[in-house]
Symmetry: C2
Subunit: 353 residues, 2 copies
DNA sequence: CTGAAAGCGCTTACAG
DNA sequence: CTGAAAGCGCTTACAG
């Protein structure tokens, strides 16, 4: 016997079975069918089982639109971002959407919209879709999105973006991420540790620089010169390295880099200079952007910001807010994880926390 | 006077105004308000204008859930992908979602779900949300997604993924993309053009190889040896180049690479070999993955698959299918675009079509 | 333990 | 030109 799975009206769209179909076939009321399917109410196991069987037979899918209308919940979230390249957004949204789908919640993505009007248009579409909450995410922790939120009431969570007072936000703990990285170099015996990083104007760059200083200070070491702030590019790592090694000063035995692209530029410069990594100089990057970190020769030891976990935590917090629970406001700093590969001369294959 | 924008019930969620509020305040029936807002029906301009003013005053947002219930349309799309890294998905989804938001349609993203059960779970969530259609996308054009679609009726479009018979799909025209790239090298005076690319097992690799052969054939040139198929990695480009240049044979004066990572490896190998790019050897990559193409020294001439356009076209086709229009089935090959930078020795700054 | 009925916020024949 | 009423597919007091 073949289950009746579809009723195809002439020329119309695919027609799904409704809860009425299920109720009729299971010889119960719609009320009871609804309760059986949702695991609520009290009824004989026999009734509940029968309803479930019929639903499976009819390939029934509850219409979440109808449910949303009565429950005043859409079981959807909106994600607003201005991170066009997607470097930060994608892992984040992966973690978010995986955690959400397990709870029956789907995520609307608004990607690559960097113009304020476009962002606003997206927000309006999400308002009309009655998203239950909003995740706002950016590519730097010290900038908000140019967007005007709907007047109060809609739960919002910020990820890797500036977060208004009283709101809830999640960012990577860059200070300690950097400290751990530098401590790793120190414990591997390095003493003259330089720092090449992104623009001073980025809070992430300043935090990582602080982490570098703190770790050295705590071990009684001096920083090797000042941090070299500039752009987050390979070119900066490359140029800064050539500059560092063209002087006649005492050379560093390690370089902590503000991101993996810079680290890649550093390693490439050493290759051309004939300086060996990690024998002569140890390198640590930041981001664990695998397409760089793994392709560099040698592969980079680097700090992973655990962006998927960030997305996941933000989503769960948002769900709590939606459920009416009180969520601690303020910025939550989530731990980063050092990924040890070969560029720092320590045991590779071993991951330190 | 301050517009009344919210009614905050005690402890409850933010309460929006409904079409009833608008109708009452504009002193019309709900029917008329609905028609005024939707631009349908006939009525005095005066009435229509009044309704719109009141709606703006109340900061009214039509409840697309309620509308969806009666129109049997959700104005949402689902995107299913197994491209965890997001290299292909992100530009695609950007193009898709930008085109959709302008038409009032939002996109559910299911990212990073590579396990069949997870994909299936996502699909079920989207069925329950009553998405109007599905975009299925992958990272290679010769593989489908391990997913069982709901029995007939739901419009589906495939992007950069294998596409079942009778379905509609969009892929980049890799054959002509490669031909154009090689023709560009030929017109720049190169005659001994080698090809280093990804695994033979990938259709994209085979198509690009064919494009290379065809372009050479049409100009009466011989391919420089056989294409070197292996992995899509920098390491392969690096190793293949060292091999090519360690033999005593006549050296190629150009290398067409199957992707930008390979091209990067090739250029890096030349840097260490002391061979000048583009003076001694010209290089063309594939993908226009800017993080590679622009950071390579010199920056890469490369083929852009116009993934955003692919996403956009797929979305528009899907909308047509949803509207009941007949969409030509089969695979649509979309043109690629050669981006000229400095690695091929032609005028840089000029983009050829 | 079970069900009839109201209602979520819209749209759309149908009637005037 | 305008409106009263039915209905989309559910959930949930309320009643028995």
């Amino acid at each position: 016997m073949i289950a009746k799975v579809s009723k195809q009206p002439l020329g119309g769209a695919y027609q799904r079975s409704t809860i009425r179909d299920v109720a009729e076939k299971a010889k119960t009321s719609v009320t009871t069918a609804s309760r059986a399917l949702n695991g609520t109410g009290r009824m004989t196991d026999e009734t509940r089982k029968r309803v479930h069987e019929v639903a499976a037979e009819l390939n029934y899918r509850p219409n979440s639109i109808a449910r949303g209308l009565v429950q005043q919940r859409s079981f959807t979230l909106g994600l607003l971002t201005n991170d066009t390249y997607g470097r930060f957004t994608l892992p984040m949204v992966t973690g978010l959407s995986e955690a959400m789908v397990d709870r029956g919640v789907s995520v609307f993505l608004s990607a690559g919209e960097y113009k304020p009007e476009r962002l606003q248009l997206n927000l309006r579409a999400m308002e009309e879709k009655r998203v239950d909450g909003l995740v706002i995410t950016g590519k730097r922790i010290d900038r908000g999105l140019p967007i005007e939120l709907p007047p109060m009431g809609m739960p919002v969570v910020y990820v890797n973006a500036a977060c208004p007072k009283g709101a809830t936000g999640f960012v990577p703990d860059d200070l300690n991420g950097a400290k751990n990285a530098v401590n790793h170099l120190i414990s591997a015996g390095r003493r003259k540790i330089a720092h090449i990083t992104g623009p001073y104007d980025f809070k992430a760059a300043r935090l990582r620089e602080q982490g570098w200083r703190h770790a050295l200070y705590e071990s009684g070491l001096e920083p090797y010169g000042n941090a070299l702030f500039s752009s987050w590019t390979e070119a900066h790592g490359y140029d800064a390295t050539r500059m560092l090694f063209s002087s006649s000063d005492e050379k560093p035995d390690a370089i902590f880099c503000g991101n993996d692209q810079i680290a890649r530029g550093v390693v490439d410069a050493f290759a051309l200079l004939g300086i060996s990594v990690p024998d002569d100089v140890a390198i640590v990057g930041y981001d664990n952007w695998e397409i760089f970190a793994k392709a560099t020769r040698p592969p980079l030891t680097t700090v992973d910001m655990e962006l998927a976990g960030l997305g996941r935590s933000a989503g769960l917090a948002l769900l709590d807010m939606i459920a009416g629970k009180v969520v601690k406001p303020g910025i939550q700093e989530m731990p980063c994880k050092l990924i040890v590969r070969e560029s720092c001369g320590a045991d590779s294959g071993r991951n330190m926390l």
